[in-house]
């Protein structure tokens, strides 16, 4: 209990900090609207040129619902951990964070957890409600909401571990920009954050099935948008996400341990 308390204290501070920067919240909402307008017209054009109402098993409406929710999810999932770590490493502030009475990976995670909460409440939930009202009944309101919660939690963990692994690479490269851009491109594309995975060619989809990325956006959204009757599908997806979360944690933990040793031995 006490252990959890020290982590939750970080969450609490993160929430206060986040709300302090309320202007940035407003700017983020505005930026989203711009982005959503853009993809609205892009996809409208795609469906118009295809000449049929259903492309790859998705209608224009389901595609838009998926993409709007993916954007909302992206806003609270993307915590710029790689930037954070890179800045810590470049400025040498990492020395201070290494001597906090908790492990760096935990410290970092719980430090950003406050903005998870804020962004979930202030961007994801309102977006979801708006989509719900606008599309009137396309999204089922039932057991699927319940499945969505563990899926999102696992997605947050997997996303964090991937970021942490990429951030650890900064210990070697001492630069952040290129690595971060590459990571972002790979993750957003292969996870289905920018284009629904249904639109991918079959071969690529087979590859993606064996990668952890789809557990971040595709799995939670698929579960949310399903009616929740196919218990088998739900359980398989959750089990796969869970396995990825465990595996990625182990990898990132080991990688960090080896790497930080490098720094403390050879100097940074």
């Amino acid at each position: 209990m006490n252990r959890l308390k020290k982590y939750l204290a970080l969450t609490r501070a993160g929430i206060i900090e986040c709300i302090n920067y309320r202007m940035s919240l407003a700017v983020m909402v505005f930026g989203n609207l711009l982005y959503l307008t853009l993809i609205y017209f892009v996809w409208k054009a795609i469906f118009a040129s295809s000449g049929s109402d259903v492309v790859n098993g998705m209608t224009f409406e389901t595609t838009m619902i998926y993409l709007v929710l993916a954007t909302a999810l992206f806003n609270f999932m993307e915590m710029y951990i790689v930037w954070e770590m890179g800045r810590d490493i470049q400025s040498g502030k990492i020395a201070l964070n290494l001597i906090r009475p908790m492990e760096y990976r935990n410290y970092l995670f719980w430090s950003v957890s406050g903005s998870f909460v804020v962004n979930f409440v202030f961007t994801f939930i309102p977006t979801f409600i708006i989509v719900l009202l606008v599309t009137k009944g396309t999204i089922a309101l039932g057991i699927n909401l319940l499945y969505f919660i563990p899926a999102v939690i696992l997605a947050v963990i997997i996303n964090y571990e991937i970021d942490f692994i990429v951030g650890t690479i900064c210990l070697y490269t001492e630069s952040i920009w290129g690595i971060n851009i590459m990571k972002q491109a790979v993750v957003t594309l292969l996870s289905g954050a920018t284009i629904p995975l249904a639109f991918f060619p079959d071969k690529l989809r087979t590859v993606i099935d064996y990668l952890p990325f789809r557990a971040i956006y595709d799995t939670p959204l698929t579960l949310l948008l399903s009616d929740g009757t196919d218990k088998n599908m739900v359980m398989t997806k959750l089990a796969i996400s869970f396995l990825w979360a465990v595996l990625m944690s182990v990898i990132s933990r080991l990688f960090w341990k080896v790497s930080i040793k490098q720094v403390t031995v050879n100097g940074g």
Binding site: K6, N20, A95, I99, G267
Partner: protein, 334 residues
């Protein structure tokens, strides 16, 4: 006295890539395996008891910060034995950090956007400080500093002095056994420096906390430390009390004069008058600096000497600098 810190033949080496010049050189560096080894800390042995305040003195790049980083557990020594509070600091960083406090120069460990009191509450939870200890500490702090002006101010709106003050308070908050202060007074004005020094001294007295601080300000040393360790180029030059060190700087002052006429003339005149005495004269573009041993001749006499014949536009009196002390130690031995 209980031993708090124990260093035995500590050495720390860094591997650094030999960088080449220019664009072509940068490209070659991409594939270079040409490393050189830099010895930042060279065979330092030291033992510090509980409640001591030890000042690490030395010019920039002398190895002070590296030594501190090893004692806090951030860096691992290349060779030698190191114990802090009965623990090897880099082996168990998390447990070790419960019992140390750190202020690293101008980097703040506080939460930028939060009012100071929120940072304190957060530290209370992170370090799991019992409510009663926390309240006692806050009461103690309230008596030592003017809390009203900083407690509800977000850290990013603080002046550098207030931030340093807050950082020091934060470092002592969980009542650690050892506090490391890396250049705590850097960049502060004289009044703030003295407030910070008083605060450190008072906390050390009340809590019997061991304090290790690095500085290149002789004033810090004068006000705080019973014991001085001088480090230069990674080697320990001096480890003794301050009284001994006074031999090297106590009776020395630097008089700086900006003459209204030709500098050369003034300098030559002084050199002639002061020949045979323990005085060193040098100059830069504007100032003539005269390092004077006051046991032999008083600063005022020198000033008079100049004023008789020359016009003085401006003058300054400076305490001897760390660099001068180190130069003297090199020249004369301990």
């Amino acid at each position: 006295m209980e031993k708090m810190i124990e260093l035995k033949n500590i050495t720390k080496e860094f591997k650094v890539l030999n960088r080449r010049e220019g664009l072509k050189g940068s490209f070659q560096d991409l594939f270079s395996r040409d490393y050189k080894i830099i010895r930042a800390v060279d065979d330092i042995s030291l033992s510090v008891g509980q409640g001591e305040i030890v000042g690490f003195l030395g010019p920039n790049g002398a190895g002070k910060s590296t030594t501190i980083k090893m004692m806090t557990g951030v860096l691992e020594p290349t060779s030698g034995e190191l114990m802090v509070n009965g623990r090897i600091p880099y082996k168990n960083r998390t447990a070790n950090s419960q019992e140390i406090g750190v202020v690293f120069g101008q980097r703040s460990q506080l939460w930028w956007a939060l009012p100071l009191v929120e940072s304190f509450k957060l530290l209370k939870d992170i370090y799991q400080i019992p409510q009663k200890d926390y309240d006692d500490m806050m009461e103690l702090y309230g008596g030592l500093v003017n809390f009203d002006e900083i407690l509800h101010k977000p850290v990013r709106q603080m002046s550098l002095g207030q931030r340093t003050l807050s950082d020091i308070l934060a470092a002592f908050l969980h009542n650690p056994k050892v506090v490391f202060l890396d250049e705590p007074t850097i960049g502060l004005d004289v009044a703030m420096k003295s407030r910070i020094r008083e605060l450190i001294l008072e906390l050390n007295r009340q809590k019997n906390t061991t304090v290790i601080l690095t500085t290149h300000d002789m004033g810090d040393v004068d006000a705080l430390c019973e014991r001085i360790v001088i480090i230069d180029k990674g080697k320990m030059l001096y480890d003794n009390d301050i009284q001994h060190l006074r031999r090297f700087f106590g009776s020395y002052r630097t008089l700086k004069i900006r003459p209204g006429e030709d500098m050369k003339e003034v300098e030559e005149h002084l050199e002639k008058e002061l020949a045979g005495m323990d005085v060193r004269i040098s100059h830069d573009d504007e100032w003539i600096s005269i390092l004077i041993n006051e046991e032999q001749i008083k600063v005022l006499n020198v000033l008079e000497m100049v004023q008789e014949k020359h016009e003085i536009k401006d003058m300054q009196l400076e305490e001897i600098s760390t660099e001068d002390v180190i130069k003297k130690i090199y020249r004369e031995g301990v």
